[in-house]
Each structure stands twice: as structure tokens, then as C-alpha cells.
Amino acid sequence: MSEAKGFKSWLTTTDHKRIGLLYFWTAFGFFLIGGIEALVIRAQLAQPNGHVVSAETYNQLFTMHGTTMIFLALMPLGASFFNYIVPLQIGARDVAFPRLNGFSYWVFLFGGLLLNASWFAGPLFHAGMLNVAPNGGWFGYANLTERQYSPGPNIDFWMLGLQILGISSLAAGFNFIVTILNLRAPGMKMMRLPVFTWMTLVTQFLIITAFPVITVGLAFLMFDRFFGTHFYVREAGATPILWQHLFWLFGHPEVYILILPAMGVVSDVLPTFSRKPLFGYTVVVYSGVLIGLMSWGVWSHHMFAVGLGPIADSVFAGTTMLIAIPTGVKIFNWIGTLWGGDIRGTTALHFAVGFIAMFIIGGLSGVTHASPPADLQQTDTYYVVAHIHYVFFGGTILGLFAGIYYWWPKMTGRLLNESLGKWHFWLQFVGMNLAFFPMHLIGLLGMPRRVYTYSPELGVGALNLVSTIGAFLIALAVLIFLVNLWRSRTHGQPAPNDPWGGATLEWSISSPPPVYNFSVIPTVTSRLPRWSTERHGPMQDPPAVPPGPIHVPGGSWWPLVAALGLPVMALALLSHTLWVAFAGVALLIGGIYRWAFEPFEV
């Protein structure tokens, strides 16, 4: 029942809280790498005809920036909260499949390391350093990514890295669906779930339905590149457009995989700091479900320039505009939550409100390119770069930071410093608007995206300089955040069970929670169990000392061993060495076999 210590205990851990922390630090590390890539990109574009990096390096940088931020930073930062918070919010002792959870984390780590190893792997392929990182864009359009036009190992790293990461996401997706559906505490009906848990559930359904699509798309590309098939080869009668359909069938749900968890965080943070229940809980939940469903019917709005014909364009314009309705409804409900409240301006609330304010801009620019004719002037320009950054940075990142400031005390037992937090917020808020707002104009003035250089004649040099200054302000803000994290370890005020007066179950236990979470599984009688409502007083928090012994599963090496098989198989393809493939398969199957027959008590 006591917690194991030491390095080994982290390698074998199956505790959702530890895995949540592993996800957090790993994803944050990748977030910093993706951020440094962004800074080099901005340094190159600070003025026309920039010479900071070469064309080839630039193409690798923007490819890896996008891939890293989406797959290695934002998704797993969300996953760190799914892991740490969801079992606490539903009153469970762990996730449904703790070892599968460990497997998901290790597969994610190895996939991320494989992708980033490409920066240094050049010499192994008779090329210099910084020469074989992926360079086909995060969207990897065929036929540019076919062997004929991208002969090096660059695209192989990208393709294999994404395949591995997909396995991690799928395993986690099934795990969290089962957890949320089956491990709820007595009385925790679906319509009593905290909205963060609800949005996690919707996100997991999107993951398990969207990732198979990109898996198929990538498998076709893999066959084309390694075995000479012709899935996207025009000369063999195929069409590279197939890739775009498959990629965006995954890619658009992916946008909501990234934004829904942040919407969940905001829906939990706002009520806590307004001292008021979420306005229109049912509507907010159903809007989230509806957004998830609708995200399947809009993919071709990424392809208006492909020329699918006026009927297809009209239909996809219509479905895309429809999705603005549930999104707008959520925003109005959040404002309704603040309205009439007693708003405490904590850092977490700052970030949650910042999310609303910035996400509106991303949503509205989204409507301008939901209209195909207008989109034909905007797509593939900096206008769209502005749009996605208002959605992902203004939306997802601000939302996730709200979550970090909100749950950090729960996760570490230490409060973050509020004044450093405010500095962080305001610098980041100003920085992001300086960095991303000018991009709207830069795009409308005719600068395409994914260009390593631009001519001074375009007249967008000054706007680009402002954008670069903004990017460095964001970097400063993130540095302040890191200082705050570091300080909190020794100087942070010890966190009580509930520093904020929260309504949900995670605040009823100590910070950080004991390894078994709840000494007694609570019985839930309302949507806001820790607040008094018209019919109930607040629940009684579980006792600090459990009344009897609690079984907690021990650690296991086998998830790590099985996960190691996947990067080894990828190495086999990269090095064209058959026996390495067998070694990888042996690790994977051997790991799973031992895992399956592991004794229950360890």
C-alpha cells in the first residue's frame, strides 16, 4: 500500500498519477523543442531574404514544428490530464487497464524520440546532421512524399514515427473509454460527470475512429515507399488526392481531439472561480458530443483549392459553417457561467478567460475560410497560419495552461506562485497577439505559408518582424512559467486538499493523492458533489486513513518491453535490415505474452 520509490519504480509504474506526470514532463519537453523550432522559423522570417537557416533546414523545421506540437506536445499534454485527473474525477482507484496505460506512455515516448532522433541521424545515412529530419510538412502530401520526389530517409522517419504514436493514442483511447464508462463511483451517472471527463470521453471516441484512417493512409504510403506499390502514384493510374482525403478525414477530427480537452478544462475552471455551477451543463455536454460527430463531415474544407466541384464545395461549406453553431453555444454558456458569479481572478481563471477571448478570433477567421471562394485567397497563406495558431495556441495552449495552474497543486502538493502566474499570462497573451495577429494581414497581403524566404517587394517585412518579436515574448513567458514550476518544488505553499473550493471529487482527497486515491470510494448524489445544492449539502470527504487494507497492483516491466519492440521494428525499416525486424517482433510479442500471463499479485 505504500508507494514504491526510485528510478525502477517509474519504469515499471502502472499508477495513473505517475503516468500522468510522465506524460506531462515528456510532453512539456517536446513543447519546448517545438517552441525552439518555432523561434528559429521566426528568426528566419524576421526580415525578407533571411539567412539564418537554409531552405532544406527550414522545410525540416516547419515540418517538425507542426508534427511535434500536434502529436508530441498538445495531444500528450491533454493525455497527462486524462491520466491524472479523470480517475480522480470519477472516483476510481486507477484506469481500467493500468499496464496498457504504461504501454501507451512508453510507445508515445519512443515514437517521439524516434521522430526527433532524425535531427541527428544524418551521419548514419551518409548525410550531415540536420539533414534527414522530416521535410514534407506535417500534412505530408503525396506525391511529394513518394520515394521519387523524397528519396532520403526523412519521410520514413515521419511516417514510422506517426504510426508508432498512433498505436499509443489508440491504446489510450480504448483504455479511457472503458475507464469512464465502467469505473465511475456509485451514483456518478453520465450526466453527473464533470465536463472535463465528458470531453475526454468524446475525444477518446474521436481518437479511436480517426487514427485508424491515418494509419491506413500511412500504411499505403509505407507500401509505396518501401515495397514499390502505387497507392498515390499518378503514373500507375492512382491519384495523390486519395492521400488528402485520408489525411483530412483524420486531420479534421484531430483538430477537435486537440481542442475538446481544453474546452473541458475551461468548463471546470470557470464554475470553480465564479462560485457558480456551469451554465447549461446539458447543452455544453451535448454541444461537445455534436462537435465530435460533426467533425467527421467537414474534411474537404481543407481541399477547396483541389477543385472538387461546386456541389462538393457547397456541401462542405455548409457542414463547416454548421459546426460553428455548437461552438458558439459553448462560448455563450461560458459567458453565462461568469455572468452573475463571484469571479476570483486566479491565474487559472485568467487562462480560461484568455481561451474564450482568443478562441473566438480563431473561430471567426475559421468562418471566413469555410466559404470556398474566400478560402481560395486564404488557404496556404499566412492567414491560415494565423487561424490555426488562434485555435491551437489561443485555444488549446491557453486552456491547457488553465488546467496546469488549476490542477498543479493537486498533482504535486504545491501551489504555484500567483504573481509569477499573472506575469506569465499577460506576457503570453500580449506575445501571442503580436506573434499571430499580424499573420492575418501577412496572408491577405499575399505571403504563402511554408516559404523559407520572401521578397522585400511583398511589403510584409515589418509585419513579420512584429510577429517574430511576439514569438520571443511567448518564449519569455514560458521561461517565467518554468521558473514558477521550479520554485514551487521548494518555495511553493503546500497545497491543502482543496485550494480553490472546487466542486468535483478530485478536491476531496489529499494533494497529491495517496496511491490508492480514495480511502473509501465516495457515493455521488449530485453533479457538484462538494457544493451544497438545493437538495443536498456538500458530500463528506473520504477519511484521511483508509478503514481497511486496499489492494494496489504492483508495477510491471512488460509494457515497457513490449513498447520497445515498436521502435526496433521501425529501425529495421530505416536500416533495411531484416533480422532487426524479427528482434522487434520478438520484443513486442514476448512482452505482450509475459504481460498476459503475469501473476495477478506482484
Binding site: 531552405a55 532544406e56 522545410n59 510538412g137 502530401y141 511529394l144 520526389y149 491519384t239 495523390p240 451554465f279 447549461g280 447543452v283 483549392a305 483541389v306 477543385g307 461546386p310 457547397s314 461549406a317 459553417m321 454548421l322 460553428a324 458558439g328 453555444v329 462560448i331 455563450f332 454558456n333 459567458i335 461568469l338 455572468w339 452573475g340 458569479g341 463571484d342 469571479i343 476570483r344 481572478g345 474564450i356 477571448a357 473566438i360 478570433i361 471567426l364 468562418v367 471566413t368 466559404s371 471562394p373 474566400a374 485567397q377 488557404t379 496556404d380 491577405l444 497581403l445 499575399g446 504563402p448 511554408r450 516559404v451 523559407y452 517587394e457 511583398l458 511589403g459 515589418a462 457544493w531
Partner: protein, 340 residues
């Protein structure tokens, strides 16, 4: 007021002016602005965008105001009674579902109308131009005129033009913002745009779909001529290449060209048959080289022939083996410049 503040103030004014000019679509030094349409297609798109833009501004102001008012009015103050635990309001929910729906209908109707109006079909008498994207330059063919050229497209003002776009290698996107939206150039597919340019001038554009190492260096020009100027240009292009004067550097350059590997990739009518690189029959009449990147002058031409990849990363034009001497390069430059 110190000098520093003055500087900031004047800078801010510069910013505001730039922003206003850009948004108003007035004249300004922005050759690739999407906000200064110069064709019927461009104007249709611009009107639609302006409509949606103002709706977006209205919604933005409204929602952000509500948010700020809520934050100020309901901020925590000591002694304020605990907030009423409202859970929702059905009429409000219906209201703020319907309001965006109505606005979206007002956006969707003109959108669909514009989609069909700009679907890319020009009247049959339109001038037809085939655009073929290559890594990293543009090839233009005028099938009815029998003209083949590169990177600089000539079209007559006030006459409908039907552009059919495809690609010889990877996916590109043909985009001349003043004349209208972009369309992808996809191998094995033909996409189309139709427009009628309404004022003469030289409009710049560039490839908009990431297409490999030198995607940034795949520029283009569309030159809108008066009818008579267009006829003159077309007649000149239809003719064979200029014959260099006997014993001139240009004639010696032609001899060097004819014994070099140049002819494997480039066409000069009656001289060389290559089809991989741009057609050079009238290269001397173009104002730029290398995908609109450099002025077509002797210095740039010479550097380009000596080592194209040094000017344009990844360029598929190789260095000659054995390398051409500087003297040979100067002769070839003289020849190319004579090909008006």
C-alpha cells in the same frame, strides 16, 4: 516628448496606415495583396470576403464586450452575497443557438451563389491557356495560338480567359492574387479558373502549395496587356527564334549552346528539342528568370547558367560537366538575350 516616444508614435501611425490601406484595398506597395482585385473573379471573391469579414467583426465586438462586461461587473468583492446557483435558461439557449444559425445562413447563401458563379467556366470564345506546374517553375501553353512560354503569362485585358491547370511532377498551386483565388496543380488532374482582367499591369503571384525544397522560389507574373500589345506579343512568340547576326557574340553563343548539354532539356525552336526545362525560344523577351526570382540581365543569367542551385536551392538544372568556361557562359548569355 522625447525622441523615442516620437519614434513610437510615428511608427504606430505607420502601422495604422498600413493596416487601413491594406484593409481598404487602396493602392499601396503590396504587389500580391488579395485585397486589391483586378478581375471579375477577384472582385467576386473580395465582395464575399468583405461581407463575411463585417459579420465576423460584429460578432467579435459583441461577444468580447459581453465577456469583458461580465468580468468587470461580477469580479470578486468582499461582502458580496454568494451567487445564485443558476443552472441554465432554456430561452437563452434557444436564442443563442438561433442567432449564429441566422448569421450563417446570411453567409452561406452568397457563398453558394459565388461558388457557382466562379466555378471556372469561361465562355467558349475565351482565350485558353494551359498551366503546367514544374519543380520549381511554371510552363504556359496557348493551344489556340501555338505559343509555349514560362513563368510570365500574357493575357489581354477585358477578354475572358480560361486557365486549365495541371502538374508535371508534384502538387503545386497556381496563384495570382490580384486576378483571383488559387487552384491546385495536380498531376493527372486538370483544374480550372476563369477570369476577365479589368486593368492593365503586371501582377505577381507564386506557388501556394508546398512542393519541395524551392517552393518559396516558384514565382510567376501575369502581364495584362492592351489588346494590340497582346496581339504583338503573341505574333512575336509564334515566330521562330531570332537569328543572331553573323560573327556576333550571340552567334558564337548559339554554337556553344548547341554543343552543350543545354539542348537536352530546353527547347529553342529549330535549335534544340528538350522539354524538361522552360522553352527558351523567346527567353530574351521575358523580364525575369528562374521562376520570377531574378531580373533577366546578363549578370544573373551568367550566375544562373554557372550554378543554378547556388541561386535556387534544389534547382534541377545541373552544373555542366565539364564546367563551362566564363567565356562560354558570356557567349550563351549573349545568345539567350538575343532571343527576343
Amino acid at each position: 516628448m522625447t525622441l523615442g516616444t516620437l519614434d513610437v508614435v510615428s511608427r504606430c501611425r505607420l502601422w495604422l496606415t498600413t493596416a487601413t490601406l491594406a484593409l481598404a484595398g487602396c493602392a499601396g506597395p503590396f504587389p500580391q495583396s488579395t485585397l486589391r482585385p483586378r478581375s471579375d473573379l477577384g472582385r467576386a471573391i473580395d465582395h464575399l470576403f468583405a461581407d463575411i469579414f463585417w459579420w465576423a467583426v460584429i460578432v467579435f465586438v459583441l461577444v468580447e464586450t459581453l465577456l469583458v462586461v461580465a468580468l468587470i461587473r461580477f469580479r470578486h468583492r468582499e461582502g458580496r452575497p454568494a451567487p445564485k446557483p443558476t443552472h441554465g435558461h432554456t430561452a437563452l439557449e434557444i436564442g443563442w443557438t438561433l442567432a449564429p444559425a441566422v448569421i450563417l445562413v446570411l453567409v452561406a447563401v452568397p457563398t453558394v451563389r459565388t461558388i457557382f458563379a466562379t466555378a471556372g467556366d469561361a465562355p467558349p470564345e475565351a482565350l485558353k491557356i494551359d498551366v503546367i506546374g514544374h519543380q520549381w517553375w511554371w510552363e504556359y501553353k496557348y493551344p489556340t495560338l501555338g505559343v509555349v512560354t514560362a513563368n510570365e503569362m500574357h493575357v489581354p485585358a477585358a477578354r475572358p480567359v480560361q486557365v486549365s491547370i495541371t502538374s508535371a511532377d508534384v502538387i503545386h498551386s497556381f496563384w495570382a492574387p490580384a486576378l483571383g483565388g488559387k487552384r491546385d496543380a495536380i498531376p493527372g488532374h486538370v483544374t480550372r479558373i476563369a477570369f476577365r482582367a479589368d486593368s492593365m499591369g503586371e501582377y505577381s503571384g507564386q506557388c501556394a502549395e508546398f512542393c519541395g525544397k524551392s517552393h518559396a522560389n516558384m514565382g510567376l507574373r501575369v502581364i495584362v496587356d492592351a489588346d494590340s500589345a497582346f496581339e504583338t506579343w503573341a505574333r512575336a512568340e509564334q515566330g521562330g527564334p531570332a537569328t543572331p547576326a553573323p560573327a556576333s557574340p550571340a552567334e558564337r553563343g548559339k554554337a556553344v549552346y548547341s554543343r552543350s548539354a543545354c539542348l537536352a532539356c530546353h527547347t529553342i525552336q529549330g535549335v534544340s528539342p528538350g522539354v524538361i526545362g522552360p522553352n527558351l525560344t523567346h527567353v530574351g523577351s521575358r523580364t525575369t528568370i528562374a521562376g520570377g526570382m531574378f531580373p533577366n540581365d546578363s549578370a544573373h543569367l551568367a550566375r544562373w547558367i554557372a550554378d543554378a542551385t547556388a541561386l535556387k536551392p534544389g534547382s534541377l538544372m545541373p552544373r555542366m560537366q565539364p564546367p563551362l568556361t566564363d567565356g562560354d557562359i558570356a557567349l550563351i548569355v549573349a545568345y539567350l538575350q538575343s532571343l527576343k
